[in-house]
Amino acid sequence: MIKIINPGWLSIIVDGGRYGYGAVGVPASSALDRFAYCILNHLVDNDGRAPVIEVMGGNFSFMVDADVTCAITGAMVMASVNDQPLQPWTAFSMAKGSVLTVQDIKEGFRYYVGFSCGLNLEAIIGSYSTNLECRFGGLEGRSLRKGDEITFKDRKMAAPAEVPERYIPSMTQPHRLRIVEGPEIEYFTPDSIEAFMEGSVFTVSGKLNRTGIRLEGNPLTFRKELDTNIISEGILPGTIQIPGDGLPIIILHERTIGGYARIAMVAKVDQDTLAHLKHGDKVLFEKIDMTEAESLWKSKQESITFLKQIIRRFI
């Protein structure tokens, strides 16, 4: 089992997401950095749908009561096992009784912790992810607390593995987010669309959580003849909505329906970056067309496939 000594600022159980019940409003609630999640499970030799811990903030620590292989991906952290510094994006072993502590984050915002022994949790509506707002999934539908214990599913160790440095994504700001056009792009004046899509700098406001990220900066201008609300409609993660005040909200993985004009979507290739936007960070958008978005996504998938093949080769 693992025993939480300190849960950091906020730590929750996540997986690849909850799908199939969008028609009754069930959102994905998945790991926000899907690349980090996918590689983490590969590093600790788990199946691709295993539950892991998504953590925000330093000062996270836990103890294990069995020998286990562990890894941390996502944000670049300063961490140690029993005062021995460890490398993020690397599989390392923890001996029975040892304590892992994440002191601080060097770059990025959210990090992911996984275990070769798996975590014994109950899947709810086909997923281990925590829906914090509605209090189901994960561990009792809530964030982890000091003293929480989660038992291991089995006893296995993973072979050493390491992600070569050039494959670790940069999480430094300003974050450059490539976007594709949304269904309501014509709701806005040409000047404000141009400014938005070609380099206007936005700042991440204090209003950010797993539901969405509100940005501050030059507001978009609605064309005069149009109502700023739309008839509420289905949305997908990465949708950028513009409410009446003209300031963008990037929707993450906790909503299925939206009622504001959707100017654009963050291209899938850059959606993992959204996990690492934090208060005060600078963000700029760059419009690309769908063909480019598709080919960028395809290359990213190919590099993941390649990375999985070489992850154990360099050790």
């Binding site: 199939g20 969008g22 409003g25 289905g234 949305i235 899938k268």
Partner: protein, 216 residues
């Protein structure tokens, strides 16, 4: 029959649009398309979100492409008329209106120039249709609200309203299934449980169901 317009929504979404207003004919087409696509049980489709006038199809871009799936859907569409639609269920939901349960009632009486009894009378006089369920699990978007009760949403949404709160906004009314943030004007509260993650089909209400509110 409404014409279906097909368009892209990001790299892995297809938006099937059946019209541009809130009405029961358009919604019936949305519902038909939703149950039809669901009945095909395609492994390429990750999820479908039906709403007032559209279905948003989320597909697996590693297994298919927009072109392929869109062509397939357009080709299959005429067969949607043959799908067996589930019979919509009709429910009565009891509500405690006003007072501590309806913090916006006072604003509404002055804004709408109606008494509390008149507001309740109008709200309980309509059989509503569940146009869509979502934003959060189990939240029903119910229409069509009587024009006399049409009010804009709150300028600044409340950070939290209690589970079961009944709200109105424009020509819609709805029920918050969980303690959650809320931008609609709250007029009452119900004890009806709307979402149970432990038991299929999880949501008490499904698209197309009918509801009448009763005053306790």
């Amino acid at each position: 029959m409404q014409i279906m317009k097909l368009s892209r929504y990001g790299e892995d979404g297809i938006r099937l649009l059946f019209g541009d207003s809130i009405n029961l004919e358009i919604h019936a087409e949305v519902r038909r398309a939703y149950f039809f696509l669901k009945s095909l049980d395609l492994k390429e489709i990750i999820d479908i979100i039906p709403s007032f006038r559209s279905c948003l199809v989320h597909f697996n871009s590693e297994m298919t492409s927009f072109q392929k799936l869109a062509t397939f859907i357009s080709w299959m569409k005429p067969m949607a008329t043959a799908v067996d639609l589930p019979e919509p269920k009709t429910y009565e939901i009891t509500v405690s209106y006003g007072g501590e349960f309806g913090p916006d009632m006072e604003f509404l009486t002055s804004h709408l120039k109606l008494t509390e009894d008149e507001i309740v009378e109008i709200h309980t006089s309509v059989t509503y249709t569940v146009f869509t369920v979502g934003f959060i699990p189990g939240f029903p978007y119910l229409g069509i609200l009587d024009r006399r009760l049409s009010v804009p949403r709150l300028e600044t949404p409340r950070v939290k309203v209690p589970e079961g709160s009944v709200g109105i906004a424009r020509l819609q009314t709805g029920i918050y299934p969980f303690d959650s943030p809320a931008g609609w004007r709250i007029i009452g509260r119900t004890d009806q449980k709307l979402f149970d993650p432990k038991e299929e089909p999880y949501s008490f209400l499904q698209i197309g169901d009918k509801i009448r509110f009763l005053r306790i």
